[in-house]
């Protein structure tokens, strides 16, 4: 692997008293399927927001494919696709209108946008709902249309924040298929999740985050180490092991009251 897709140095973010991201140094290799894992509140969304230029860091630098996110936005924004978590889309547009809008705003020629939109809607199984307003979409459909608008301009690096959260298995499989095809052609996917099984089955490179810091990073096998699963390795890394419920709930079982 040549240059890093993302290079983060000394990244900090505080919200009032609370430290959300406490000094991250990280290098994500290009052309990989990268998982950023961690429990809720670990700082994954904050980190991804700062990396994609949606949130200003208190301190630190971020480079995407060799360009500084904050000093060279022209180069960076054209090369990345983003699917944030917890932010709206322009929901009063239909799925197709949203893609037409995003593509043209990105400066692609109209005919090219329409061609790509048709293909994306087809592949993501949204063709039947393309004229429905996004506000009436289900969670899975929203994630898929968000993914489509993130992919429309064929970015080099794709950042997805919890792309499988609240998504039904069929949609999840569709999203998975599209992402696997995308990385197979040499592009980079960085996605965050707190579902270890998912990360383990999808990613070849992971970074583990907890309490605003990176606890481990590297190829999946390396991070997993001796543990039987990523879940086990993760629990050991964040120190949540040995908190078994034990005999506290020994009455629970649905039998006699």
């Amino acid at each position: 692997m040549g240059t890093a897709a993302v290079r983060v140095r000394g990244l900090w973010k505080r919200f009032g008293q609370q430290v959300a991201v406490a000094g991250i140094d990280l290098e994500l290799p290009a052309g990989r399927f990268i998982g950023l894992v961690g429990p809720n509140g670990a700082g994954k969304t904050t980190t991804l927001s700062m990396v994609t230029g949606l949130l200003r860091p208190d301190q630190g630098t971020v480079e995407v494919v060799g360009h500084d996110v904050w000093r060279d936005p022209v180069e960076v924004k054209a090369r990345i696709g983003v699917l944030p978590e917890g932010l709206r889309l322009f929901e009063r547009l239909s799925g197709r209108e949203l893609l037409a809008y995003t593509g043209r705003l990105r400066g692609l020629p109209g005919s090219e946008v329409d061609k790509r939109a048709t293909q994306l809607l087809d592949v993501l199984d949204l063709a039947g709902a393309q004229h429905k307003l996004v506000v009436d979409y289900s969670t899975g459909m929203r994630k898929k249309i968000g993914l489509a608008s993130a992919l429309l301009h064929n970015p080099e690096v794709l950042f997805l924040d919890e792309p499988f959260e609240g998504v039904d298995p069929v949609s999840a499989q569709t999203i998975r298929g599209v992402l696997e095809r995308y990385t197979a052609s040499g592009a980079t996917v960085v996605f965050s999740s707190h579902v270890m099984e998912l990360v383990e089955s999808l990613c070849d490179w992971v970074a583990v985050m907890a309490a605003g810091r990176i606890r481990a990073h590297g190829p999946l096998a390396e991070v997993r180490g001796e543990s039987p699963s990523l879940q086990q390795a993760f629990l050991e890394l964040v120190g949540a092991h040995g908190r078994d419920t034990g005999s506290d709930l020994d009455w629970l079982g649905g039998g006699a009251r």
């Binding site: 949606l54 889309l89 705003l105 307003l133």
Partner: protein, 550 residues
């Protein structure tokens, strides 16, 4: 879930078991309503204060109209006023559930689906429970006041004993029936969109009432008689019509009017009961419906794009214009601006108190729409932010939004100005007023663009509020500071207008103000966009976090 925190599971289960005879169900529902009210108030001191304030307000208002109606006794038009008042009140009862669907949780029968209840006792219980509240109390006051205003003789009072409860029941049953018939709409997205427009309906309605009251003040109450003649036969206003008829000795008419209200009540109850039964025995098809209805929701403005410039500018304009129609918050803001921008100059002209310069009001009101552009996007602004990487991009973005605004505001401001001029007949002043309007519009666009970048704030998507909690100060600075700045920016054009009007042969040159005002407006707007663009480009993350609080 704050649904039924007050009723313990034990009581709910117990009453479900004895619902067959009906009586306990009524008391359970009344108690449910009271405990919902009590628990709602217990949640926060602010809510308690708001409730007490609204109760006080309603009571004061009820007392005032009671005194007013009693004072009307003996007036020749008293019956007309009373009948109309009740008709308007009934209209309020009919539209209330459409605009405030979540106002009463016992109103939503879908919450009771799991309980073994029979339709008849349920309807009776719900009807009695809905008599508890401020609305019914106010209606009762109006009814009692109306009876005092129109009733003469023992027979009339005897009729009133039936008329007052009957009128109240018709009002309440009307609201319940409307809610039950429309419950699918009300719980869907379209229903929630409708609710956002409610504040607007009230605002425009208040303007109309205000105007109507002024007309009455000048023309006398006699104007009401023809309308009251008809409404005296329409339930529930016909109950007052009945009391009035009996007072005048027309017993037949009185009984007929009373019977009409009785029939209406029976009809509404049966309609309500039928819909209630259907709602509670058939599965909720609202999501199913939405899925199939989607194909009808086709792009309305497919041809719009053809008339817009190509590239980024046209794309931005198209999105902005679509949002005017499709986004309830944006639509509400637009309709408010369009309505007030028209009502103020035109109504003033109608009343003869107007000045032609009031026509500038339209430009001012519409210019307000340029403010907080990014707040109107909500957190979807990230999609815009991802495509802005230079001040040039930000300039094109802001210019596209300003152009979309101008597509509607320019013809509209011109139309209002010409209309006002025509009503006042002051044609020589038209060019200068148009020039002033255009200059003001340009200045509002300039300050609007700048404060969109500098003072963005969130617009909550649900409810009537236009500012997220904690950002009200920001909104005030943004809009009022901006308006003052816009007025100051217009000073050169205003000064020129005054000077031309003051000098002897100035009128010969006043037409010059039209091209000058238009050019000045365009120049100021362009300058404002140029100044706002680098600020926007440099503050994208800050703007995003400011507009994502709703």
């Amino acid at each position: 879930m704050s649904a039924v925190p007050g009723t313990s599971p034990g009581t709910a289960a117990g009453t479900a078991g004895v619902s067959a005879d009906g009586v306990p169900v009524v008391s359970v529902f009344v108690r449910l309503k009271l405990s919902l009210l009590r628990n709602g108030l217990r949640q926060s001191a602010r809510r308690r204060a708001a409730y007490i304030a609204s109760v006080t307000l309603v009571l004061v208002f009820a007392a005032l109209q009671l005194v007013g109606l009693i004072a009307l006794r003996g007036n020749a038009h008293a019956a007309s006023v009373a009948v109309l008042l009740l008709a308007v009140l009934a209209l309020g009862w009919a539209v209330m559930p459409l605009f405030f669907p979540s106002g009463d949780e016992t109103l939503d029968p879908t919450r009771l689906v799991m309980l073994p209840l029979r339709p008849r006792p349920l309807v009776r219980a719900l009807l009695v429970a809905s008599l508890v509240g401020i609305g019914p109390l106010f209606t009762l006051c109006v009814l009692v006041g109306s009876v005092i205003a129109v009733a003469y003789g023992a027979a009339a009072y005897a009729v009133a004993v039936v008329a007052v409860p009957l009128g109240l029941l018709v009002c309440v049953a009307l609201a319940r029936a409307v809610a039950a018939v429309n419950i699918r709409l009300l719980t869907s997205r379209k229903g929630r969109d409708l609710a956002v427009l409610s504040g607007l309906v009230i605002a425009v309605g208040a303007q109309m009432v205000n105007f109507g009251a002024q007309r009455l003040g000048s023309a006398g109450l006699g104007e009401l008689d023809p309308a009251a003649e008809v409404l005296g036969w329409v339930p529930p206003a016909s109950v007052i019509g009945a009391v009035d008829a009996v007072s005048e000795g027309s017993y037949g008419v009185g009984v007929a009017r009373l019977a009409l209200s009785g029939l209406a009540l029976a009809g509404l109850l049966s309609l309500w009961s039928r819909h209630l039964t259907r709602l509670m025995t058939s599965p909720d098809g609202s999501t199913l419906q939405a899925a199939t209805a989607g194909s009808r929701d086709r792009t309305r403005s497919a041809g719009l794009g053809r008339f817009l410039p190509a590239g980024r500018t046209g794309t931005i304009m198209e999105r902005s214009l679509r949002y005017v129609w499709r986004d309830p918050k944006t639509k509400a803001a637009w309709v408010t601006s369009l309505a007030i921008g028209l009502i103020v100059p035109v109504f003033n002209a109608l009343q003869g108190t107007g000045s032609i310069y009031f026509a500038c009001f339209a430009a001012g009101m519409l210019g307000v729409l340029m403010y907080n552009q990014f707040g109107q996007d909500t957190s979807a602004f990230w999609m815009v932010a991802m495509t802005i990487s230079s001040p040039r991009d930000a300039f094109v973005e802001l210019r596209g939004r300003a152009l979309a605004l101008l597509v509607i505001t320019l013809p509209y401001a011109t139309f209002v100005t010409v209309l006002t001029t025509a009503m006042l007949g002051d044609w020589p002043a038209l060019p200068e007023v148009l020039g002033l309007s255009f200059a003001l519009l340009g200045a509002m666009l300039a300050t609007g663009a700048w404060s969109s970048a500098r003072f963005p704030y969130s617009i909550p998507q649900e409810g009537y509020k236009n500012v997220a909690p904690g950002q009200a100060g920001l909104a005030w600075i943004s809009i009022f500071g901006g308006m003052i700045a816009a007025a100051l920016l217009c000073v050169p054009v205003i000064a020129l207008t005054i000077w031309l009007n003051a000098t002897a042969d100035g009128d010969d040159w006043s037409w010059l103000l039209l091209p000058l005002g238009a050019a000045y407006g365009a120049g100021v707007a362009l300058l404002g966009l140029r100044l706002a663009a680098p600020r926007t480009a440099a503050r994208l993350p800050e703007i995003l976090s400011a507009v994502s609080k709703g």
